[in-house]
C-alpha cells in the first residue's frame, strides 16, 4: 500500500486561500490566529476540510489557536480507511420525490428476509443483533421519560426507525404521525426486587430479546428496553433487526440515542438523504458499464473459487435447528489497541486487513488447509453523499474473498498480501457479494450457503464518525462498557468473526452455531486468535514465520466438514409437465420470472429465480392451491417436478 499523502499540503492550500497568504508563508507551528485567521474563518476552514478532504472535524477541534501541524495530525487521525473512497461512482444520489414511497430490498436484506421465512439452512425466525449494557448512577425517576424522549427524537431524525417491510419483500417508511410509527421503550422496574428475582428476570428478558427479535414486517425493526435496578443501577437493552439496520447502524444508533438522552437540547445535524434514496440510486448502478465490468470480473473468476474452510463438524448444518448463536469474546485494552494500530501502520496495513489475516490463519490451522473462500460483511457504504455514513439503514453488503495463505511467510508478508488481494476484490464491489454468491451457488448446482464463514470489522469507524461515544447518558446514568452482553443471530452463517471498537478498546468475538461445531475446537481456535492478536499488539507477532498446515486444499476424506458434499439431490426426469399441478407451477414461474418454463426439470435458479422470488412464488402458490410450503423444502428440490412433489406431500399432511 502506498502511504497516504500527508494532509498538510492540502491544508496549507486551504489556509493560504482563506487567509490570502502565499503557501510559503504558512509555517507548521504558527497558529491560525497568528496568521490572521478569526473564528468565522476557522468555521469556514473546517467546512473546506470536510468538503475537500472528506474529513469530519468535531466542533471543539475548530479553534483559532490551532497550528497547521496540529490540524494535519488531527485530519490524519480522523481520516479512516474507507475502501471505496476515491473511486468515482457512475451514479449520483437523488432525493426521491416521495420519501414514503416503497422501495426494493438490498440484496443482503433479501437474504435476511428469506432467512426469516426459514429459506436457508441455518436460519432463524429473525435476523437480529441484541445487546445490553450496564448503567450506573441512574436517575431512575427520570430514566424512562428520558429514554422515551430520546427514542422519539431519534425516530424523527432517522427514518429507518419508522421503516416497515411488506410481505412481498418491499420496504417503506411510515410518516411520523402514523399510528405506531415512533418506537417506544419498555421498562422493567426491578428496583424493589430481590437478587434472585433480578437474576431470573434479566435472564428472561435476555432470552426473549435474543430469541425473538424485532420484526419490521409487523412493527419497528428496533426493540429498546430499560431495566431499573436497585442502587440507581440499570441496564439498557436493544435488539435490532438486521433486515432494517446493519452493524454500522447499530453503533450509530447507540451513539445517537445516548447523545439524545444525555442532552434534552441535542439536535443531530439533519440528514439530506435517506436510505431509500441510496437504495434507489444503487439500483441505477446496474445499468452502468462499470457495474457490468465488475460483474464480468467476478464471473471470470468464479469457477476457480475455493470452497469454504473445511472445519470439522459434529452435525450437518441442514439437520440442526438453532435458536441462538454462541459467542466467544475478548478485548484489547485502549493501550494495546493503540499499539496494534501503530504496528499496523508501521507495516503498511490497515487494522482490518491485519485482523482478516489473523482470522484466516486461525481458520487454516483449524481446517488443515490454506486455500478457502471467506465471506466478509462490508459495512462501509458507497460514498454517494457526505451524510450517508451518518444514516441508519441496512446498507451492508457482502464481499466474497478467496484466501490463499502462502507457506513460509511472516505474518507481515501475509497481511500485506491479504490487504492487496482484498483491495483488488473490493475494487470490484459494485456488484454485491450476495449476487456473486448466488451465481456461484447456481454454477455449483447447490442451494446451500457457499461461504458460511464470515469476517466483519468496523475498526476505523470511530475515526470516521469523528467524536467518540460519550460515557454519560444524562438521567440514564453512566455507561459501563465493561459490562456489555451481546448476541448475534444471522442466517446462512456457521461462524462469524467480528472486530469493533468500543470506548477506545478493541473488542472481537466469534458468533457461531454451537450445534455444528465441537466446543473444544471452537475454544482452541478462539484462544489461537487471541494469542495471535496479542502478539501483533506487542509487536512480536509480525516478523515470525507463520506456522501453517501443508495442504493447500481440504482433503475431502468423507469426514463431516464445512462445505462438504451436499446430500444427493434426487434426479428429476426431464420432459414436459406431467400433470395439472406441474403445469400450473410452470405457468406461475413463467409469470413471475417472465421466461418460458417448458421442462419439468428446470431449476428455478437457472432461469433467473432468486430467493426473494421464491418467497413470492410460494406465497402465490399458497393462495392458488391452498398449500403453505416452507421455502427450505422448495430449495431442496427447486424444480417444477420437485415443487409439485413437495406440494402433494404437504397437501397430504395437512
Amino acid at each position: 500500500m502506498t502511504p497516504l499523502p500527508s494532509p498538510a499540503r492540502d491544508l496549507t492550500r486551504i489556509w493560504a486561500e482563506l487567509l490570502g497568504l502565499d503557501p510559503g508563508e504558512i509555517g507548521p507551528d504558527a497558529s491560525f490566529l497568528r496568521l490572521g485567521g478569526d473564528s468565522v474563518l476557522a468555521v469556514r476552514m473546517s467546512a473546506l476540510v470536510r468538503k475537500r478532504l472528506g474529513v469530519e472535524l468535531a466542533l471543539s477541534d475548530v479553534t483559532v489557536e490551532i497550528t497547521l501541524s496540529a490540524l494535519a495530525d488531527l485530519v490524519a487521525r480522523r481520516g479512516g480507511d474507507g475502501g471505496t473512497a476515491g473511486r468515482a461512482l457512475p451514479v449520483d444520489i437523488r432525493r426521491r420525490p416521495d420519501p414514503d414511497a416503497p422501495f426494493p430490498l438490498m440484496p443482503l436484506q433479501q437474504g435476511y428476509f428469506v432467512g426469516q421465512h426459514d429459506g436457508w439452512e441455518l436460519s432463524y425466525d429473525s435476523a437480529h443483533f441484541y445487546g445490553d449494557m450496564a448503567l450506573r448512577d441512574m436517575d431512575a425517576d427520570e430514566a424512562e421519560e428520558t429514554l422515551a424522549d430520546a427514542l422519539h427524537r431519534l425516530a424523527l431524525h432517522q427514518p429507518t426507525l419508522r421503516a416497515r417491510i411488506t410481505p412481498d419483500g418491499m420496504q417503506h417508511v411510515l410518516p411520523p404521525d402514523a399510528p405506531g410509527a415512533i418506537p417506544r421503550p419498555r421498562v422493567h422496574d426491578l428496583r424493589g426486587a430481590g437478587e434472585e428475582e433480578i437474576r431470573a428476570t434479566l435472564e428472561t428478558v435476555r432470552h426473549e430479546m435474543a430469541t425473538t427479535g424485532p420484526d419490521p414486517l409487523t412493527g419497528p425493526g428496533l426493540d429498546v428496553r430499560l431495566t431499573l435496578l436497585p442502587g440507581d443501577r440499570g441496564r439498557l437493552h436493544t435488539a435490532m433487526s438486521l433486515i432494517a439496520m446493519d452493524g454500522w447502524s447499530a453503533t450509530l444508533l447507540n451513539r445517537e440515542l445516548l447523545a439524545l438522552a444525555a442532552d434534552w437540547n441535542a439536535v443531530p445535524a439533519p440528514l439530506e438523504v435517506d436510505f431509500g434514496d441510496y437504495v434507489t440510486s444503487i439500483g441505477r448502478l446496474r445499468a452502468t458499464g462499470q457495474w457490468a465490468a465488475d460483474r464480468d470480473w467476478w464471473w471470470d473468476r468464479l469457477d476457480d473459487a475455493p470452497p469454504p474452510p473445511a472445519l470439522p463438524l459434529r452435525a450437518d448444518p441442514r439437520d440442526v435447528a438453532p435458536t441462538l448463536m454462541d459467542t466467544r469474546e475478548a478485548r484489547l485494552d485502549a493501550a494495546r489497541w493503540a499499539a496494534l494500530r501503530e504496528a499496523c501502520a508501521a507495516h503498511g496495513v490497515t487494522p482490518s486487513a491485519a485482523m482478516l489475516t489473523a482470522f484466516s490463519v486461525v481458520l487454516a490451522r483449524w481446517a488443515g488447509h490454506r486455500r478457502m473462500l471467506l465471506n466478509t460483511l462490508q459495512l462501509n457504504r458507497l460514498p454517494l453523499h457526505p451524510d450517508i455514513h451518518r444514516t441508519i439503514g441496512a446498507f451492508a453488503s457482502t464481499l466474497l474473498v478467496p484466501v490463499a495463505l502462502d507457506a513460509g511467510r511472516t505474518f507481515a508478508e501475509l497481511a500485506v498480501e491479504r490487504q492487496r488481494s482484498f483491495g483488488e476484490h473490493a475494487g470490484h464491489s459494485l456488484i454485491s457479494g450476495v449476487e456473486v454468491a448466488r451465481e456461484l451457488a447456481r454454477r455449483r448446482g447447490t442451494t446451500r450457503p457457499v461461504a458460511p464463514v464470515v469476517f466483519q470489522s468496523t475498526l476505523g469507524m470511530d475515526a470516521a464518525v469523528g467524536e467518540r461515544q460519550a460515557r454519560s447518558a444524562g438521567p440514564l446514568g453512566e455507561l459501563d462498557f465493561a459490562d456489555f452482553y451481546h448476541q448475534l443471530r444471522t442466517p446462512q452463517v456457521a461462524l462469524e468473526a467480528r472486530f469493533w471498537e468500543m470506548n477506545a478498546e478493541m473488542v472481537f468475538a466469534f458468533s457461531l452455531v454451537a450445534e455444528v461445531f465441537e466446543a473444544d475446537q471452537v475454544d482452541a481456535a478462539f484462544r489461537g486468535l487471541v494469542e495471535l492478536v496479542e502478539a501483533l499488539a506487542d509487536g512480536s507477532g509480525w516478523e515470525r514465520v507463520v506456522e501453517l498446515p501443508g495442504a493447500v486444499d481440504a482433503p475431502r476424506d468423507g469426514r463431516l466438514s464445512l462445505g462438504g458434499p451436499a446430500a444427493a439431490e434426487t434426479a428429476v426426469a426431464a420432459g414436459p409437465p406431467r400433470d395439472e399441478l406441474e403445469q400450473r407451477i410452470a405457468l406461475l414461474w413463467e409469470e413471475i420470472l417472465d421466461v418460458p418454463v417448458l421442462d419439468r426439470a428446470t431449476s428455478f435458479f437457472s432461469v433467473g429465480g432468486d430467493s426473494l422470488l421464491a418467497v413470492r412464488t410460494l406465497a402465490r402458490l399458497a393462495k392458488d392451491v391452498g398449500v403453505a410450503m416452507r421455502v427450505r423444502r422448495f430449495l431442496d428440490a427447486p424444480t417444477v417436478a420437485g415443487l409439485a412433489e413437495a406440494v402433494r406431500e404437504r397437501g397430504a399432511a395437512q
Binding site: L33, R44, A47, V62, W264, N265, P475
Partner: protein, 366 residues
C-alpha cells in the same frame, strides 16, 4: 405606498395577533434552558456570587462576565432566587418531560414568528454547548455559521416576520430615495443588501459593502458579482470612516444590526453625518431591547477577542452590561448628531413592535 404598508404587504395575510405572545414564549423558553443548565451545573448550597458561578462553570477569562448577565435576567424573571443583591441561589432542577415541553414550546413559537426550522436547531445547540462556549472550546461563530454557511444568520436576520417587514419597508424607502452612492457598514451576511441591490440598479453609481471581517467580503463578491457598482472592502466603523472609505459624500449610509457595535454611538453618528450629502439619509435596523432569546449567543460575541479586552462602551451604555440602545436613546442620538427622523417603524402599538427590532431613517438636512 408608505414604507409601513410595503412592509405589511410583504407578510401577505399572515395573522399577527399571536406575535407578542410568541416573542415572549420564545424568550422564556431559551431563558428556562439557561436556568436548567445552571441548575444542573451549580453546586448545592449558596447563595453564590456571579464570580463564584463563573468559577464553578470554568468560564474562560473573557467570558467570565456572562453568567452574571444571565443571573440578573433570571432573577428579574423569577427563575432564580436572589436573597441579597448579587447573591443567587441555584435554580431548581428541571425534569426531562418539562424540558421536552420547553423544546416544543420553543419550536412552536419559532414557527409562529416565521423563522425557519434551523433557528430551533441553532437555539437548542447553543444551549447544549453553553459549557463549551463558556470555556472557550466552541466559538459562538461556529454555531452561527455552521460549516461556514449563512443559514442560521439568514434565519435570524432575514427569514422571519419582523425582518421581512423591516426589509420590505426599507427597500420601499430606498426605492423612492434612489441614491447614487451608498455605503453599508457592518454589512456581514448582507441580509438587507440582497433586497436593495435590485432596486438600485437604475440609479446607483456605487455600493460600498463593508465589514470588519474579510470572511463576509469574499462571500459578497461572489454572491453579488452581478452588480458592477458593488465593491466590498474591509472597514472598521469604530475608527475614523473618511480615512477608510474616502470623504464621501454618500446619498445613503446603511447599518443593519451593526451600529450598536460601536463603542460610542454618538461618535459613529457624527462621523456618518460627515459623510452624508445634504439631503442624504442614514438607514439603521436596530434591536432596541435585548431579548432572552439571544442570551446564548450575543453575549459571547460581545466578549473580548481572545487575549484582548472587552470593548468598553463610552456612550449612554457606559458602565452597564447593555448591548443595545433603546428606541428613545436612538432617537435622541440621531437628533444630537443633527439627523432628522424620517422613519421609525413599526408603529409602537403594532404587534410587530414586540420583536423590538426597528427601522430608523434619519436625514441630513439639505
Amino acid at each position: 405606498m408608505t414604507a409601513h404598508r410595503a412592509g405589511l404587504a410583504a407578510l401577505g395575510n399572515t395573522p399577527l395577533g399571536d406575535v407578542p405572545g410568541d416573542v415572549r414564549r420564545l424568550d422564556l423558553a431559551v431563558l428556562t434552558g439557561i436556568a436548567a443548565f445552571l441548575g444542573s451545573r451549580l453546586p448545592e448550597g449558596g447563595p453564590w456570587t456571579a464570580d463564584q458561578v463563573a468559577d464553578a462553570l470554568g468560564a474562560a477569562p473573557r467570558h467570565r462576565w456572562i453568567p452574571g448577565r444571565w443571573l440578573t435576567v433570571l432573577a428579574d424573571e423569577a427563575l432564580v432566587e436572589s436573597s441579597a443583591p448579587g447573591r443567587y441561589h441555584r435554580p431548581r432542577r428541571y425534569r426531562r418531560a418539562e424540558l421536552a415541553a420547553v423544546r416544543d414550546t420553543l419550536d412552536r413559537a419559532r414557527r409562529g414568528l416565521g423563522y425557519p426550522e434551523t433557528l430551533t436547531r441553532y437555539l437548542l445547540e447553543s444551549l447544549r454547548l453553553l459549557p463549551e462556549q463558556l470555556r472557550d472550546e466552541v466559538s459562538a461563530q461556529t454555531l452561527l455559521f455552521p460549516d461556514g454557511e449563512f443559514g442560521v444568520a439568514a434565519a435570524a436576520y432575514r427569514d422571519n416576520l419582523v425582518n421581512a417587514y423591516l426589509n420590505a419597508a426599507a427597500v420601499e424607502y430606498v426605492r423612492r430615495l434612489a441614491p447614487g452612492r451608498t455605503l453599508e457598514l457592518g454589512a456581514g451576511t448582507g441580509s438587507l443588501t440582497v433586497g436593495l441591490l435590485p432596486v438600485l440598479r437604475g440609479c446607483a453609481t456605487e455600493y460600498l459593502f463593508t465589514d470588519l471581517s474579510a470572511f463576509f467580503l469574499e462571500e459578497a463578491r461572489v454572491r453579488f458579482g452581478g452588480y458592477a457598482f458593488l465593491r466590498a472592502e474591509v472597514l472598521d466603523f469604530s475608527q475614523d470612516l473618511a480615512a477608510q472609505c474616502g470623504p464621501g459624500p454618500f446619498d445613503l449610509v446603511i447599518a443593519v444590526n451593526a451600529a450598536h457595535n460601536a463603542p460610542h454611538v454618538g461618535e459613529l453618528l457624527a462621523r456618518i453625518r460627515g459623510l452624508l450629502a445634504p439631503g442624504g439619509a442614514l438607514l439603521l435596523v436596530e434591536t432596541c431591547r435585548e431579548h432572552h432569546q439571544s442570551l446564548t449567543s450575543m453575549p459571547f460575541l460581545l466578549s473580548a477577542r481572545p487575549g484582548g479586552t472587552r470593548p468598553e462602551r463610552r456612550d449612554t451604555r457606559a458602565g452597564t452590561d447593555r448591548t443595545y440602545l433603546t428606541r428613545e436613546e436612538w432617537r435622541d442620538s440621531l437628533a444630537a448628531a443633527g439627523l432628522t427622523p424620517r422613519l421609525d417603524l413599526p408603529p409602537v402599538d403594532h404587534p410587530l413592535a414586540a420583536f423590538s427590532q426597528r427601522l430608523f431613517v434619519a436625514a441630513r438636512n439639505p
